[in-house]
């Protein structure tokens, strides 16, 4: 018993130490508890329930912020619910919102299947519902959906990269870091990349594909192997911006982590539009990045939701595409601040003034 108490004491002490380590981390700008306001609808003020699966990446943190800011600007009362990546919990949270008599529901679902179920619940209750950026698995239940067109966005970025490649006056060897093949976003991005390849048959050698499973360590290992097998690669597209640190780790020892205009520069592009991509574009390492236009997505679904509420529609149905855009070195001056990652980057006190000179 004495030993048991000792062990428990040690575990508790170390647990407290860990908690202390976590303390310096800043909480997201809009913590759910803080933002959870009264559900009561006062006068003409509308109340919208915003239920999201979690904020596990910078993208979702920015998406959350874009939606909350949009709602606040429109004077809408917001009830926030974080499901912590638990689809069942999210369903219960939405049922709770329905019981509170909200005017509309916006969800970022855990997955496409659970989205169908949650939308069904809202349909039964006669409350309009919208799904943000992660579409339901099927269209059996009517809903508003805003989703990025990954294929089109990727192609915009890779088309720009192809134009840069043409300036070299020779064929280039393309490589794509493919995401999880079970994820429609990854499949769409791969297709967008191939659209560019197929449109320029005289520009490209055989494509090298590197599976990553959306995992940093797998991406690093497979990219290193691919670069060893194909050292001639000089055109690289990553299906997500989060893999730039791994790309740098592989290219730098090979002398290929070079700025635009420097000898040995690999034409580099990605998709997401996060703050790291923004920094690397500013510094001249990345040529283009496809951007999911979070601000457009937030505005569009909010407007569709408010229109549906105003028209008294209980089960509105509309599929809205975010065509996104490509931030390139050519349109940096005009478009940089439209990219959510650059906005976050600038908000952290960083300058967007480019630090390199293309030769």
């Amino acid at each position: 018993m004495k030993r048991l108490v000792t062990v428990l004491a040690i575990v508790t002490a170390l647990g407290l130490l860990l908690a202390a380590c976590a303390a310096p981390v800043a909480a997201p700008s809009a913590a759910p508890a803080a933002a959870d306001q009264s559900a009561a609808t006062t006068g003409d003020q509308k109340t919208i329930c915003f239920a999201y699966q979690d904020l596990e990446t910078e993208f979702w943190v920015a998406g959350h912020k874009a939606i909350v800011e949009t709602l606040n600007e429109l004077g809408v009362n917001v009830i926030e619910r974080n499901a912590n990546e638990d689809a069942n919990k999210q369903l219960e949270q939405v049922k709770d919102c329905i019981a509170q008599g909200v005017d509309g529901i916006i969800i970022i679902p855990q997955d496409g299947e659970s989205a169908v179920t949650i939308v069904g619940e809202a349909n039964k209750a006669g409350i309009p519902i919208g799904v943000f950026n992660r579409p339901p698995a099927n269209d059996s239940n009517p809903t508003l959906v805003i989703v990025a067109n990954n294929e089109v966005i990727t192609q915009q970025a890779t088309d720009y990269m192809a134009e840069e490649a043409k300036k070299l006056g020779r064929k280039v060897t393309p490589l794509i870091m493919v995401g999880d093949l079970g994820d429609p976003n990854a499949v769409g991005r791969r297709q967008g990349f191939y659209n560019t390849i197929e449109a320029n048959p005289d520009l490209f050698n055989e494509v090298i594909e590197v599976p990553t499973k959306w995992d940093g360590a797998t991406a690093l290992a497979n990219l290193e192997a691919a670069m060893q097998a194909n050292p001639e690669v000089d055109f690289l597209f990553t299906s997500s911006d989060f893999m730039y640190p791994q790309i740098r780790s592989v290219l730098e020892p090979l002398g290929k982590w070079k700025k635009i205009g420097e000898e040995g520069h690999v034409i580099l592009g990605g998709l997401d539009g996060d703050s790291r991509a923004c920094q690397l574009m500013r510094d001249g390492y990345v040529d283009a990045t496809g951007v999911q236009d979070l601000f457009y997505e937030a505005d569009t679904i909010m407007q569709a939701m408010l229109d549906a509420i105003a028209a008294g529609e209980t089960t509105p149905e509309k599929w809205m595409d975010d065509p996104g855009f490509a931030l390139t070195q050519a349109n940096w001056e005009e478009k940089a601040m439209d990219m959510w990652g650059c906005k976050l980057f600038a908000e952290s006190g960083e300058s967007l003034e480019r630090t390199f000179t293309a030769q």
Partner: protein, 339 residues
């Protein structure tokens, strides 16, 4: 005489199926893509196998006791995240970051050991629970944001001992050697095998089964943390998805290396080391040979499945061969006389 030699040869081959499979895979990929035979390729394979190999060494300790540790992936994430935060927020030096990382890993292993030996929860359920809890704790600490490591860690991860051998490989081989020595030349090593073979008998023989189990889960936690640090030292950041599914690679490496999930059988050298390198070699080989990315998981699964089948076949055949040896005692004596 010829029969005896053939039997010995068959026995030798069966005892080294992992090594034979390793050689076959290496040669086949090399013939399909000649660059695969380059020394640099082998170095890359070893380097990329290092972190999962280190985790698999810890897993081997656990599997030898007939246990399992499903929480190693979450452990890697939590320990690497805490170390990253300590270095980032407190501006701690790298050695302190590493120390914190290993301490958190051991604490994680200690919690597993406590649940298994004191609360008497079976290892599968206990570590499944800590796997889920660990991931949650890691996300709570990181707030789902990537944790960048200082450049000095990245430099460490890409440095070479005497300018020759990449540091991750040195750490991997060093840990493997130390683990093998512990398992084969120390009392605790023999006790681990004894507990894995028959925990009840080990208890009756006076061994403290609880102490042995506590040791192996703490070792597994320590190895998971070290493996995580080695991996992050090569990447430079801890991503929120870091560690997810790595437990399966670690288990596969240990089993491919000949460890039995029923306990009591297995080794780190060459066993687990070969298993970890084999898994990475298959992945690298598929990249070199440009196999369709939709087909790659099928080929990987087929090779791993073949290895496990071969292992099962090996055990059956070895049992048969040993039985024959008992029966042919007289013949063997006659053969010995002929010599």
């Amino acid at each position: 005489m010829k029969t005896t030699n053939r039997q010995h040869l068959a026995q030798l081959a069966l005892q080294n199926t992992s090594l034979l499979l390793f050689i076959v895979v290496f040669v086949v990929f090399g013939l399909l893509a000649p660059r695969f035979f380059a020394l640099q390729t082998f170095e890359t394979i070893l380097k990329q196998a290092s972190y999962i190999g280190i985790v698999a060494i810890g897993m081997t300790f656990v599997i030898l006791t007939a246990g399992i540790d499903l929480s190693v992936g979450s452990n890697m994430y939590v320990s690497a995240t805490v170390a990253g935060l300590v270095m980032q927020e407190l501006k701690a030096p790298v050695w302190l970051g590493l120390l914190v990382c290993l301490s958190v890993g051991m604490l994680f292993g200690g919690v597993n050991a406590f649940l298994i030996t004191r609360v008497k929860i079976i290892p599968f359920i206990a570590t499944l629970g800590t796997m889920v809890a660990g991931k949650g704790i890691g996300l709570l600490f990181s707030r789902s944001i990537q944790i960048p490591y200082p450049d000095s860690v990245l430099e460490l991860g890409s440095s070479r001992l005497f300018g020759l051998i990449p540091l991750p490989i040195v750490i991997f081989l060093g840990v493997a050697l130390a683990a093998q020595l512990v398992l084969t030349m120390t009392p605790i090593g023999r006790q681990i095998y004894a507990v894995g073979n028959d925990a009840e008998a080990a208890k009756k023989a006076g061994l403290s089964v609880g102490r042995v189990l506590t040791s192996v889960y703490i070792v597994s936690g320590l190895m998971a943390a070290l493996g995580g640090f080695v991996s992050v030292a090569q990447q430079g950041v801890v991503h929120p998805g870091f560690g997810e599914g790595y437990e399966f690679n670690a288990i596969a490496a240990a089993v491919l290396g000949g460890a039995s999930l029923f306990g009591g059988v297995g080794s780190v050298l060459p066993g687990t080391l070969l298993g970890a390198v084999l898994i990475q070699m298959i992945q690298t080989g598929l990249i070199f040979t440009k196999v369709d990315i939709y087909i790659q998981p099928l080929i990987t699964a087929a090779i791993i499945f073949s290895a496990v089948l071969l292992d099962a076949f090996r055990n059956i055949q070895l049992q048969k061969l040993r039985r024959r040896n008992i029966r042919i005692d007289k013949g063997a004596l006659v053969g010995a006389g002929d010599d």
